[in-house]
């Protein structure tokens, strides 16, 4: 099955901020149609991995392969075209525009009408397509009624839902999720888990999350980062027994978290 071929491969990624080494020779693989989780203490460098992939930080060294192709570290705005999506830690919606428009922007890069066409009002067809597909996406996420609401009018789980809808509408092959479950209630976490399981059919997922039960539930593979280094990797069950992981991250026995 093609699911064995990694969609994303990172080798020897090192990132420094001044004197601080945030990532130290990190290598990881995200196979197609799988969920890979990145866990670790606060400040371990998880978000920095995401930031390197998505062009927000420039790595000191390291290589990246996307869909088997060795490339330069991508520029942020090229990411969407590489079929990689990302959600931001926190919410990261556009605050001054409606939920619908937020979602429309998710697939914006697929349609380039150009300003001249826009000026002459000739991009109506594209606009309708964008709108229709965004509406369909909202419907898929059970959020049709939120279409015309502004982010500050939404409940927290709804904002997260919209953010996810926006990230997924471009039909990415890889999605980077930064703490998608943070702040969500059990219902919503269950729903999120289900969404991620569905996602796996069509794309790869790289997940950062502190909600350990949730990680265990959805992950095929887990990497544990500590002080910028990978201290353990493997499936969740084996990783969580690793003494290093217990000491650095989970703390004592894995209990009721």
């Amino acid at each position: 099955m093609s699911s064995e071929a990694p969609f994303l491969e990172i080798e020897n990624l090192t990132v420094k901020f001044g004197g601080l080494t945030a990532l130290d020779n990190v290598s990881l693989k995200v196979p197609q149609n799988s969920v890979v989780s990145l866990i670790g203490p606060n400040g371990a460098g998880k978000t920095t991995v995401f930031n390197s992939i998505s062009g927000f930080v420039q790595p000191q060294s390291g290589e990246i392969k996307i869909a088997g192709q060795k490339t330069a570290w991508p520029k942020t705005h090229k990411l969407a075209a590489l079929k990689i999506s990302r959600t931001l830690q926190g919410v990261g919606l556009f605050s001054g525009i409606t939920a619908l428009e937020n979602v429309m922007l998710g697939s914006d890069h697929k349609y380039k009408a150009g300003i001249v066409k826009d000026l002459f009002g000739l991009s109506g067809r594209i606009d309708r397509q964008l709108r229709d597909s965004a509406m369909a996406q909202l419907e898929r996420f059970g959020a049709l009624s939120l279409a015309d609401k502004f982010p500050h009018e939404l409940s927290y789980p709804d904002t997260k839902r919209i953010a996810l809808a926006r990230a997924l509408i471009s039909e990415p092959e890889l999605i980077l999720l930064d703490e998608p479950a943070a702040g969500l209630g059990q219902d919503d976490i269950d729903e999120l888990a289900e969404t991620i399981r569905q996602l796996k059919k069509s794309c790869a997922v790289l997940l950062v999350e502190h909600h350990v039960d949730f990680v265990g539930e959805v992950s095929d593979q887990v990497y544990v980062l500590d002080f910028g280094r990978i201290i353990a990797a493997g499936d969740f069950e084996s990783v969580k027994k690793s003494p290093e992981v217990l000491a650095a991250y989970l703390g004592g026995e894995v209990g009721h978290a």
Binding site: S54, T76, F94, L105, D118
Partner: protein, 330 residues
């Protein structure tokens, strides 16, 4: 096609409406309407730049000046008809907008405000520096000329102000049409995305820098046409495009509503007619010169502050709210 048809009808309705008003009022008010139409385009350029993309420019008057000088040079040196020179003048201002945008794309809030403000300050010196071409302090004299005879035959005697109105109107209607298209377009959505969250915008595939430049170009093009029309009232010169012009455009934009086209309309009407209205209101009271002279500036300052404090979305949004409210009540 729905959008284009709707917006075209709005623009045509606007044209007819203003045209009709224009035939009812006297020459002075025709002239004022012509100015309002011109500044409407100018305020639109701010609403696009600041309202849609969140970039605050304090030097929009300088971009208008570029359009004005461009138009004057084309008319004086290349003997172009104004009907050609006006639309062409937007190329000049768009080019300058592009250059400015290249720098501005990296700037945030106050840094951009400062840069544009100094641009507005420096503009008159450019006119002086190249005074053999640009006419120095006195500037270049251009105007809309005499109304064509066929029009006078149809409409009867046409005052110069009325002719100015007829020259500005089609451009204002076109600007309305373009802006209406633009406001709901994909481009505008990108601009607003960049305005609200640059990182998230980049993640959905928007080239943030290029997007910011593009809005500068478009906004400058609007400003350029406004500048050409403004200059065609009689003069293109440093004292025509003073910093105060930039600031009153901004005032209009805020009073009317920074984020709407109707707001630009309301705002431009206010900045043009406010002094007249104040004059009418205070006429019965015999106030000293000292007070009457400074009152318009005082009131518009006060209005600006009140708007910002009480209703920062501007009059247009307020009307929309009242309208919506009354609809709900029904």
């Amino acid at each position: 096609m729905f959008k284009i048809r709707r917006n075209a009808s709005i623009a045509i309705a606007f044209f007819v409406f203003v045209f009709a008003i224009g035939t009812f009022v006297g020459p002075y008010n025709q002239g004022q309407i012509a100015v309002a139409l011109t500044l409407f385009i100018g305020v639109l350029s701010i609403n696009i730049l600041t309202g849609l993309s969140g970039q605050l420019s304090l030097g929009q008057g300088a971009l208008m000046a570029v359009g004005g000088y461009g138009c004057a040079l084309m008319m004086i040196n290349a003997h172009l008809s104004m009907w050609l020179a006006i639309p062409l003048s937007l190329i000049a201002s768009a080019l300058v907008g592009l250059l400015l945008g290249l720098v501005a794309a990296k700037l945030s809030g106050p840094y951009l405000a400062g840069t544009t403000l100094v641009l507005a300050l420096a503009m008159p010196t450019v006119a002086n520096k190249f005074d053999s071409i640009l006419g120095g302090d006195t500037g270049l004299s251009i105007d809309t000329g005499m109304p064509p005879t066929w029009l006078s035959k149809v409409m009867g005697d046409i005052a110069i102000e009325q002719w100015n109105l007829y020259v500005s109107l089609p451009f204002a209607a076109l600007a309305l049409f373009f802006a209406a298209n633009l406001f709901t377009s994909q481009s505008s959505r990108r601009w607003r995305a960049v305005r609200d969250h640059e990182s998230a915008a980049a993640l959905v595939g928007i080239n943030v820098e290029r997007t910011k430049i593009s809005v500068f170009v478009i906004s400058s093009a609007f400003a350029g046409v406004a500048g050409a029309l403004y200059g065609l009232r009689g003069l293109v010169g440093p004292s025509v495009f003073a910093i105060s012009l930039s600031l009153s455009l901004l005032t209009g934009s805020i009073l009317g509503g920074l984020r709407s086209i109707a707001g630009a309309g309301l705002g431009s009407v206010i900045i043009v007619f406010l002094p007249d209205w104040i004059g009418k209101v205070i006429h019965p009271f015999s106030l000293s010169d000292q007070v009457t002279n400074y009152l318009p500036a005082f009131v518009s300052g006060l209005l600006l502050v009140l708007t910002v404090v009480v209703n920062p979305s501007g009059l247009a949004a307020l009307f929309a709210k009242i309208f919506r409210f009354s609809r709900v009540k029904r």
